[in-house]
């Protein structure tokens, strides 16, 4: 056969078949696996177990706050609960769930057969699980009561004499090392193991966000590791880094913590942005609008987001010019974020939009994150922040950004990629009911918390007086939280039942754009027998088009079309 261009010779589409090796079975094969897909699934299962724990903690918090002057929980229990809730949701649910999805999908999306360092990958998983066990082990003695921020000197031995803070420190160390190794692994994988033809401008947007997130982790994790090490030596080895009575500085802790803590927000939401950028084009049946603008916005958010940490500290004694600097810097983050939201809306504009559950969660993400972003501008304006800081307005704001920006996007990703991971579809009907409860419950719970904060309710209080309608706001919020919990529970039921009873999905149930849909579902151990050459951001579209073209040519020539 003669060829005129290189295009027609190279990428004859081949649907791969998982014939390479029989898949090992048994629990030992899971414990010892270095397969990125199995590690990804174990990350996901473990993270959802922690989601249940963190969710129960949240419901207990809401029960205590349901009515004014409640005596259901003691202050000690309450403080321990919100410390565990925040820490669990960030370090034991969101971070590992993102790690799980990234582990599973990044190699598939870039056409690689595994991560660059499979054994390190397994080490990451087990360190994360060790961190969770160490932290929850403190339930057996006395959990930390200093909040997920563990501000010194409250977290020093003089004021937190029990070992709960130490188990929190070890959780940060263990999950931090896990994330750091995982980030290095992802960075090396993405930069070195892409399919032929996948240049920087053809990398799927989810992979771009994971690359950016890996860089943020590599920059910020050593700082928090150092900070908690200083706290550990303060607590046990006689140093005074954060002890003001011996020349230490509590503000040092805050700067170190938030130098990690603020990039952490983007570490949580950037992967969500990536997931949304994958799902919206598929169900709008359109290419992503402004690929380069979205990539630039991702990098811009990461760069600016690393330089604005002190907007968490507008109420401590800071020089005036720093207040101005961190206010204007934080405003700047809004620009690339706004660019992204408009690009997402214009991806759907003039499309043919379908609404499976994954798309519903994506839309829920857009609406929720929009409000979270706008309240961010209130908080960035430091005189306004002087009123709103550390109130329920802030609690509402960060739940809108993190649940809106990260959790809803991850739920969308779960419904979107579940067929790829299991070979079965999730139940759409149950999924839609679950979505309704989750989104509705979320808005009922958290919208009213803005008002609670504006009416003078600080965060982290175990009781409040019934003034300024606080009783009403909190009752609404508590009712909403149980609706939200019901929504999540329905999704868990959906996952469990669909594993057995879901319809067979086939390799590409959504007519996706990216390479993970090129392999069978679930993918074989080696992912791809043949890695296709990538010619655009949407390699699967190219492949489908080429199949159509060849079928047509074949038919016209009177040759039997490929079966």
């Amino acid at each position: 056969m003669t060829t005129t261009t290189a295009e027609t010779t190279t990428a004859a589409p081949e649907i791969v078949t998982g014939t390479a090796a029989p898949r090992p079975t048994g629990w030992l094969s899971w414990l010892t696996t270095t397969d990125h897909k199995r590690i990804g699934i174990m990350y996901l299962v473990a993270s959802w177990m922690f989601l249940v724990l963190g969710g129960v903690e949240a419901l207990l918090i809401r029960l205590q706050l349901a009515v004014p002057d409640n005596t259901l929980l003691s202050p000690q229990t309450y403080n321990a609960l919100f410390t565990m809730h925040g820490t669990t949701m960030i370090f034991l649910f969101l971070m590992p769930m993102i790690a799980g999805i990234a582990n599973y999908l990044v190699p598939l999306m870039i056409g690689a057969r595994d991560m660059a360092f499979p054994k390190l990958n397994a080490l990451s998983l087990w360190l994360f699980i060790a961190g969770g066990v160490v932290f929850y082990g403190s339930l057996l003695f006395s959990p930390a009561e200093c909040g997920w921020t563990c501000y010194a000197p409250l977290s020093e031995t003089a004021f937190s004499p029990t070992n709960g803070v130490d188990s929190w420190i070890f959780l940060i160390h263990l999950t931090g090392i896990a994330s750091f190794i995982g980030a290095l692994n992802l960075f090396v994988t993405i930069t070195n193991m892409r399919a032929p033809g996948m240049s920087w401008s053809r990398i799927p947007l989810f992979v771009w966000t994971m690359l950016t997130q890996a860089i943020l982790l590599i920059i910020s994790l050593p700082v928090i590791a150092g900070a908690v090490t200083l706290l550990l030596t303060d607590r046990h080895f006689g140093t005074h880094f954060f002890d003001p009575s011996n020349g230490g500085s509590p503000l040092l802790w805050q700067h170190l913590f938030w130098f990690f803590g603020h990039p952490e927000v983007y570490i949580l939401v950037l992967p969500g942005f990536g997931i949304i950028s994958e799902i919206l084009p598929v169900f709008s049946r359109k290419p992503i609008f402004g690929y380069k603008a979205i990539v630039a916005a991702t990098l811009g958010i990461a760069v600016i987001g690393t330089l604005v940490w002190a907007h968490h500290m507008f109420t401590v004694p800071l020089p005036f010019f720093l207040l101005i600097f961190f206010m204007l810097g934080t405003y700047l983050v809004a620009i690339p974020t706004g660019v992204k939201i408009f690009n997402w809306i214009f991806t759907m504009w003039r499309g043919a939009i379908e609404f499976p559950v994954a798309m519903l969660y994506s839309v829920g993400f857009l609406a929720t994150f929009l409000l979270g972003g706008i309240t961010g501008i209130f908080l960035a304006t430091f005189p306004v922040d002087w009123q709103l800081h550390d109130t329920y307005f802030v609690v509402a704001h960060f739940h809108y950004t993190i649940v809106g920006g990260a959790v809803f996007a991850l739920m969308a990703g779960l419904y979107y990629w579940f067929p790829k991971m299991t070979g079965r579809m999730m139940n759409e009907k149950l999924g839609k009911i679950s979505f309704g409860f989750t989104l509705g419950g979320f808005w009922i719970t958290f919208l009213v918390q803005h008002s609670a904060g504006l009416s003078g309710m600080p965060r982290r209080v175990y009781e409040y007086a019934d003034v300024n309608n606080l009783g009403l706001y909190n009752m609404i919020s508590t009712i909403g939280s149980f609706i939200l919990a019901l929504g999540v529970l329905l999704t868990i039921i959906n996952i469990v039942t669909s594993l057995k009873n879901g319809a067979k999905s086939g390799p590409d149930p959504w007519r996706g754009n990216t390479l993970e849909w090129f392999t069978p579902s679930p993918p074989p151990l080696n992912n791809f027998d043949v890695v296709p050459r990538v010619r655009s951001v949407e390699p699967m579209q190219d492949i489908r088009r080429q199949i159509e073209r060849q079928d047509r040519v074949g038919d016209e020539a009177g040759v039997v079309a490929r079966s």
């Binding site: 000690q76 003089a158 402004g290 005189p383 409040y464």
Partner: protein
């Protein structure tokens, strides 16, 4: 076919939103904006700045949200609908980048315009309390914002687990004789009140919503704020930074009264504090006298069997214990034992920490430091300024050496 239910859904959603918004706008101010009401310019400034950003935020939220809903409804997949394969539009990208930037420039400009009102205190009004030039409590490198004429009523706000202590500045430099109060601060109206905010143990945050923003009390640092109340009344708030198990109950309130009433309150408070201190001093002196009597009764009986010619007891050696139990009444050095427990001396005072316990790991140099400068290292559970800080003046160097050696030996069982 599909357009009618969609329209109905749309209408229904609209009515639902309207139904939610109308009672919201009619209800209390705390629903959509921070509290104010004391008439202090900083809180009013923050509130109006908030409302402006709220207005812009509403336009953006309903504008972008409306565009989102329109897109979802208008371009949902129907039979025969075709997706337009557009990859982007540079002009649009530039447009919304610039648009977003312009909104932020607008907010920045308004913030800078409002900043003077929020940040800088005005002079007290003519009918306010006439206050002397500030004798500030400030210790940090940062300076408080003062009114143009430099006159304000300065109050030191000290956060402690779990109560606020307020110390009113006066014209002398001795901070131990000042008027103070706990939990409720009484201030005159129409008077600029400047606050010096500090913390004694962990971080706290000073916040009275109606009187402006919150300012953290960070141990080792000094923070500042101010207010100038025009309407008499009581304004409530509470600690806004997690400070431990009692955080929720660490409440604060500011009671604004007319300058005349304030003067009455201030004088009464001063009188009450002075008389309470006098009573305490009398009780202390009684304790000292009692201890001295006990010692006097004990000493001769111990010396009697010796039957040697009366000789003054060797002051240097014998009197570590005496110094500890009786102090030196002549110079005003109070007895350690009346406040501290020390098993070797047989004292069981409970005002200060138990020395058998807290000094276990200390050496002689640290003990000397703690006697001379008691506020440098405060034992857990005890407040500063309880132990007299005058031992450097009331004990001679020899007496101090003896006392330190005695305490050191006693707690280490020598």
């Amino acid at each position: 076919m599909t357009s009618r239910p969609a329209k109905q859904t749309f209408l229904f959603a609209f009515i639902l939103v309207a139904a939610l918004l109308i009672p919201a706008s009619a209800a209390m101010a705390g629903v959509i904006a921070p509290e104010s009401g004391g008439g202090t310019p900083n809180a009013e400034g923050i509130r109006s700045l908030y409302l402006l950003i709220f207005g812009i935020g509403c336009v953006v939220f309903f504008g972008v949200g409306g565009l989102l809903i329109y897109t979802l409804v208008r371009f949902r997949s129907r039979r025969g609908s075709v997706a337009v394969q557009a990859h982007g539009n540079t002009r649009l990208e530039v447009a919304w980048t610039v648009g977003a930037a312009m909104i932020l420039v607008l907010i920045s400009v308004v913030t800078f315009l409002k900043l003077d009102q929020i940040k800088n205190p005005p002079n007290s009004s003519a009918d306010g309390l006439s206050t002397p030039m500030n004798v500030a409590f400030n210790t940090g490198p940062a300076k408080p914002a003062l009114p143009p004429n430099g006159h304000s009523l300065n109050i030191d706000v000290n956060g402690q687990q779990y109560i606020w202590r307020y110390t009113y500045a006066d014209t002398d430099t001795n901070n131990l004789n000042n008027v103070f109060a706990y939990e409720q601060m009484v201030v005159p109206t129409d008077t600029t009140v400047s606050l010096t905010i500090r913390a004694q143990d962990v971080q706290h945050s000073w916040w009275i919503p109606s009187l402006g923003g919150k300012f953290d009390a960070v141990p080792g640092y000094t923070n500042y704020t101010w207010f100038k109340i025009t309407k008499p009344g009581t304004y409530n708030g509470q600690c806004a930074e997690l400070c431990g198990r009692g955080h929720a109950t660490m409440i604060a309130s500011v009671k604004a009264v007319s300058p005349a009433e304030f003067k009455v309150w201030y004088a009464a408070q001063k009188l009450a504090i002075t008389s309470a201190e006098r009573q305490a001093a009398a009780a202390r002196n009684a304790l000292v006298a009692k201890d001295a009597a006990v010692l006097k009764a004990a000493a001769p009986s111990a010396a009697a069997p010796m039957a040697a010619p009366a000789r003054p007891a060797p002051v240097a050696m014998a009197d570590g214990k005496t110094l500890f139990v009786a102090g030196v009444p002549a110079t005003g050095a109070l007895a350690c034992g009346s406040c501290h427990t020390l098993s070797a001396a047989g004292t069981n005072g409970a005002v200060g920490p138990n020395l058998d316990v807290v000094l276990k790991t200390w050496n002689a140099a640290m003990i000397r430091e703690a006697i001379l400068y008691p506020n440098k290292m405060i034992a857990k559970g005890y407040a500063a300024n309880i132990m007299p800080a005058n031992y450097g003046a009331t004990l001679t160097k020899a007496q101090l050496d003896v006392l330190v050696k005695y305490v050191d030996d006693s707690v280490h069982g020598k």
